[in-house]
Homo-oligomer: 210 residues x 3
């Protein structure tokens, strides 16, 4: 596969799994059919949209690529049909979200590098692309943000985007850098989810003291 | 009336009623005078602003049209003066919101078509323009989003935008298409509000099971 | 100091104190190290980013100025190290927020004037720049917005931006206008915080009546 194909495939995966996560959250909130479709779409394209806006790349990418709408609709339909079959919607949501996070961290960093942003901005933009679809989903649905409740979340995206930017600086090609960085991100999230690892934190302030 | 006048009038109506809905929500939250004015403005212009940003139409429309500020201020003043007179702020809010939804669904779809977006994107952009002013209002004020609590809400906007795009494709003129589509949207919302009709949903997941 | 230096210094102060306020809020929410850094950055650059997007000034300013990332990181580190030493995180947060509000109200109005926006839009843009970093912080962290809980908040920013636009119209130079307007904004906030002054409000609706 050439580079465009690798990125195209990663983008489809990211859109689909984030749409699934958006649809599952909307279904939990008893939204109607069109509402579920809309939240699925916003969750799928949200991170990349904010990235495009910040980089000044207009119109944002899905305006000219309505296939994104249909991929997200497919995610919404899949989530709706699958929900009676899956034991735990919350667990499925967390894993779908982890896959989207991994893919979009790389795609966001790549888009920023392509727009000639400095390395530190590219890493940050990877994290924004990866986390803000989920943030928009949680904000629209008034849920406590998953970015807060899950340990090593934005952290995984920042590390993954950093790995991508680092491998590119070392001269590894785009496609292998992307695949390695996405796998690293996913592995970090998977370990954190499975072993429920708390992130490194400073002394915890007690809320009552504030 | 020619086309520009029809759209100008619809825009003024939409701005005013969304500003009223924003001001009523801000008043419920005990905000001060300037806060009420600011929320009224953000609610009024929010949906169209997000639409302009997504389409890459800059600067966003109200930067060069400060009359939007005064229309929204008029809505804030009207809401403030009227509130002791009206029996139920919540009911008034829901109806004002329905009018704004109907008007902005059409204006959003029209702006997207004018920017040569594909039909499916134009329909989605109608729904975004119609619903995101209210979403921004609810998010800023930490209220449970009306988009969630009200049945057939985003759905009505999607159908209205779809009717507009469909009538335009059939060759009906811009003005009659706009008026018909706005009336269809409002009729759907009105029936849903009056008869409290639930939207079509799939099997409801129980929260406790998650 | 010439004008560019005055504005550069004000911008660094605003970034730093808003980053501190973002980091303190993130620490209260038990976020991990990278999460704290990310929230500090988003709070620091959020208001100016929304201003740039609305004005159509792309790419947004910090893409080409990664020093903003390091200033915000310094704010996050300072907040983290200082938190065991300070008696009340909430009080520190409110004062840091007041400084950021004062500085960004002026910078926002200035940026809008530089983009040739009308005076009323420049005043509004000052308030947006000043308040939306904090709004994004509170929305991301699911906190009740400080813009709501604090009296004379958006009001102080609007007055400060108005003073700046007024002094500029009177022909006072950019630097003295900026310093005077920022001090006026801070003084208004300080009086409101110290004396806990309620804002002028209309008859309070009772929530139960709605």
């Amino acid at each position: 596969m050439d580079t465009a194909q690798v990125f195209g495939a990663l983008n489809i995966i990211g859109l689909f799994v984030f749409a699934v996560s958006g649809a599952l959250t909307a279904l939990r909130n008893d939204m109607d059919i069109f509402g579920v479709a809309m939240i699925a779409f916003v969750t799928g394209v949200g991170g990349g949209t904010i990235r495009d806006v910040l980089l000044g790349s207009f119109p944002v990418w899905w305006i000219a690529a309505p296939s994104a709408v249909f991929i997200c609709l497919a995610g919404a339909v899949a989530a709706t049909l699958a929900q009676p079959l899956i034991a735990s919607r919350l667990k499925t949501l967390i894993w779908a979200d982890a896959m989207g996070l991994s893919v979009f961290a790389v795609l966001g960093a790549q888009a920023a590098l392509a727009a000639e942003a400095p390395a530190v901005i590219a890493i940050f933009m990877g994290a924004v692309t990866a986390t803000f679809g989920g943030v928009v989903r949680d904000v629209l649905l008034n849920e406590p943000p998953l970015i807060l409740k899950q340990d090593i979340y934005a952290t995984a995206a920042l590390i993954g985007a950093g790995v991508y930017v680092g491998l590119m600086a070392l001269g590894l090609g785009i496609s292998p850098s992307a695949v390695v960085a996405a796998l690293v991100t996913f592995a970090i999230r998977a370990v954190a989810i499975i072993f429920n690892i708390p992130s490194p934190k400073f002394a915890r302030p007690r809320k009552t003291e504030l």
